[in-house]
């Protein structure tokens, strides 16, 4: 599959600009929060929208433009959040996300990409199996003092693998999240274990910037390892891991003998079954941010590879089922928050499959921190507009980026993880 395979879709872009906004005019609820594409919100030239990137891709394929710093800026100043894909596909069969990703892949394959800021991350994965240039043996440090099974040695077995991910493993300001999660699992009697130092990067970050070879290498290693462990479920706290496990790994064609579950889906089930009962009141008004990668980007988007047939005269019909992001993991965090006594919950305007990206994905945070910050600030403003005291989410990347935005803007709002609130109420 290659960028060239999607030439027809590029030709079919009508430049309607729907991909700049959340889908369907009737869903827009205000002037302020109508945009769906953080790149279009920040950058005003059309080229930065999903459509603009399609045009850029076609121009490059056609030899109308060369690879220039401006092209790389257009391609990578984008969180690959997939909103443009959802909005476009509400009315078309076009595969916008796939084209954006193929464009990155081709740039990398031909030696033009990714951005300089991405190279250390890629090297870090290659050399240390994580994105944070940290030694492998410190990966399990977050679990120090917890009594959890270590499945990495093959001695202990469990039904569930709790896959923590690079960021929760190494970021000292976020480590409490996996700890709390593990504690809650233990409390609910879940039979789970971790991989400790043997855990590898999920490779979502390298996938996102277009480093396909490395992604495939790690994805296959992970699949093999999970199969080998014999676990029924792979539970992850990180939205990035969850998204790539759930939506991208299956496309590699390998057998996957396990189910991918987000920790919050698991916890919501435990609450539903009565295994966990939130009792303590948490007197807080909150709103929830759907991360792209637990949401629309967690849905399997089988790429057509350009395969299509002509029916009814000249109707191009694709050989894949079209998805619109409805199948993300949207309900679990809401169910958890609803179960916490006294918590007041209100929705933002842009939610679920048309959630507004925090801006940090797709390598944007490292390559274009100003872009990431501008998107996060926009989202923080939206959270504030609901009157919430806390912006809740369940992705380490979003949390970090929101925290930066709150620090930068001085917005009077806390950024918290769903797990923290749940833990408080138990």
């Amino acid at each position: 599959m290659a960028l060239e395979d999607y030439r027809n879709d590029m030709m079919r872009c009508v430049r309607c600009s729907s991909c700049k906004f959340i889908p369907l005019g009737s869903i827009v609820k205000s002037w302020q929060f109508a945009y769906g594409c953080p790149a279009s919100k920040q950058m005003n030239f059309h080229s930065y929208s999903g459509s603009g990137k399609l045009i850029a891709a076609l121009s490059w394929l056609d030899g109308r433009i060369g690879v220039t710093p401006e092209l790389l800026d257009v391609v990578y100043r984008c969180s690959l959040c997939g909103l443009c894909d959802v909005s476009c596909r509400m009315g078309t069969d076009m595969e916008v996300y796939e084209i954006l990703h193929q464009l990155r892949k081709k740039l990398v394959a031909e030696g033009h990409g990714p951005m300089p800021a991405h190279k250390p991350v890629i090297e870090s994965v290659r050399n240390y199996d994580n994105v944070w240039v940290q030694p492998r043996n410190r990966r399990g440090r977050w679990a120090k003092g917890l009594s959890v099974k270590d499945l990495s040695k093959g001695k202990e077995k469990a039904e569930v693998l709790y896959f923590v991910g690079c960021t929760y493993s190494y970021a000292s300001d976020l480590m409490h999240i996996p700890r709390l999660t593990a504690e809650l699992f233990t409390r609910a009697g879940v039979d789970f274990g971790i991989l400790g130092a043997r855990e590898l990067c999920c490779a979502s970050p390298v996938y996102m910037v277009g480093q396909q070879d490395l992604y495939e290498e790690y994805a296959k290693k992970n699949i093999a390892m999970f199969n080998e462990l014999g676990v029924k479920k792979v539970v992850t706290s990180c939205a990035g891991c969850y998204g790539v496990f759930r939506s991208k790994y299956p496309l590699l064609g390998e057998d996957m003998d396990f189910e991918v579950v987000h920790a919050e889906e698991y916890l919501a089930e435990l609450i539903g079954s009565g295994a966990l009962v939130p009792k303590n009141k948490v007197d807080l008004s909150v709103t929830f941010h759907d991360p792209c990668h637990t949401g629309r980007m967690a849905e399997i988007r089988a790429p057509s590879g350009g395969g299509e047939e002509c029916h009814l005269g000249c109707l191009p019909v694709k050989n894949v089922e079209k998805v619109l992001g409805f199948d993300g993991s949207y309900d679990a965090p809401r169910e958890i928050l609803a179960a916490i006594p006294q918590m007041k919950f209100s929705e933002m305007e842009r939610i679920r499959e048309y959630s507004f990206c925090c801006g940090s994905g797709g390598g944007a945070k490292s390559a274009f921190p100003d872009f990431a910050l501008s998107a996060a600030s926009d989202r923080v403003e939206e959270a504030m507009s609901t009157g919430a005291e806390a912006l809740v989410t369940n992705c380490p990347w979003c949390e970090k980026n929101f925290a930066d935005a709150v620090r930068e803007t001085g917005a009077p709002i806390r950024v918290v993880d769903t797990i923290e609130l749940l833990a408080q109420s138990l």
């Binding site: 309607c16 600009s17 005003n44």
Partner: protein
Amino acid sequence: MPLSKDVYRVFEDIVGEKNISDADVILDAYTFNWLVEFHPGCAPGKYLQNRPLAVILPGSAGEVQAIVRACNRYGVKYKPSSTAYGSHAFSLQEDVLHIDLKRMNRIIDIDAKNGFAVVEPYVPWCQLNAEAMKVGLFGTAHQAGSQASALANVTSGWGMNTMGNHGGHNAKNALGVEWVLPDGEMIRLGPPDAWFTGDGPGPSLRGVMRGHVGALGGNGVYTKCAVKLHHWPGPSTIKTAPGGVFSGYKLAEPLERARVYMVDTPDYETLADLMYALGDAEVCYAIMRVGGPEHAFAILAGAISNQTLVDWHEAGMVEAAANEWNHPLIALLYAESDREFAYQEKVFHQVVEECGASIPVAVQVSPFKDLLEEEFAIFLIGNDTHWAHHGGGFLISAGYMGTTDSVIRHMGYPAEKLKMRYVERKGILADGPDSTYHNSFEHNAYIYKELEFHYDAANAYSVEECRRLVAEERDTNREQKDGFECQDIGLCLGDARMTIQERFAELGPLYGDFHIWQERMKRAFDPNDVADRSTYGIGTAARNLKV
């Protein structure tokens, strides 16, 4: 000739370095658009032959004025755009500075009492209506979709819109306007310090601002416009829930005192009678058509996927509907009070019965019943129409504006017969003969209709067939010589044989030599000839016109 460094710097000084670019990757996004494939010389691609010299992003009316003045000073041609949907948004000329108004995106004010909003160019209808509904008002979003600019449509584009039966044509919905004239002078239409009217003192310069069609960027830049809004009997926000069959969403709660009907008529004469009678009765918020059953299904399926349309055909659904319905019409009833709604319902049914129309069985059962009850309002309100691009585009022929009788006589033979020939040749989507889209305005005081045909933009044969179809349709029309405001004179498209300028020159004498009058006006208002000509009058050819 590219901009000299010095002149580039002049523009850069106006907007700042970040807001101007002449990088190829940026320029190509202002070269590629829907319908470019129908400009002779561009097909089968979608790129215009000329890139702009640069794209500039002014942030205020003052900056726009400075840009236009500089264009006059240095002899640089310019073309403005708002949301820029369609080839009309770009210049066909060489060496043109493109002014993208995206940074001018504010709603300056909504005057809820007097019923209008003052907007900048890059406020799409979806943003405007989201705010307008909060104060009980609604704007007449045009069919290009709610992501397209309100100001561009009202001041510069066309103006046909779904809610026109109640809200009128958008050529009539402009109030006060702030306008940077082609020579860089700035004026206000209407009073200098208020927006409630754009007419006077004395003759209304709205007449120069636009006509049936807007100046399409050939007449300076409109930097703010008061858009008249209309009363909205609905809720302050539309609550949607996932789950609709067609759009993926449905109304979370039904709209009170609202109902969408699809009624069928056995022939075009009855259709006309029905439209007149509904117009007289004034009971419909919207009256529109999306063609016969095959076309209606194609549009609905487009909201799901192209595969769906094939499935529906294979399941016999489309054929069954085609056997039952002939020429359907869609009507939205929407009332402010229960009493009004009861009256509307009663009269509506009376009219339908008297005219010999009927409500097809198919729309009285699922899924179409649910569509009408739970989803159609989302389509109407959201006005999300990009799903009409099954293969990346549709084109129109036989577009007319006028009385119902004069327009309806252009439905059916010969336009439909011609279309079916192309369907047989597999150049366009097989969606039946009647793919007529129509809106009524001012309680059916006049109507607009166009015959749509859907092509595959990525298929050179399909594009070529469309060009031939338009040419043939124009020939038929040329022989008939009986159109009213034939939409060709608004649609900036060439066909297989001629450029749009040539087409305008041909139509001019049939319509009062409008091309000559326009050229006279152009020369009076644009002494340095820098405002883009390619979509104004008969274009560059008019330079040689003896006026």
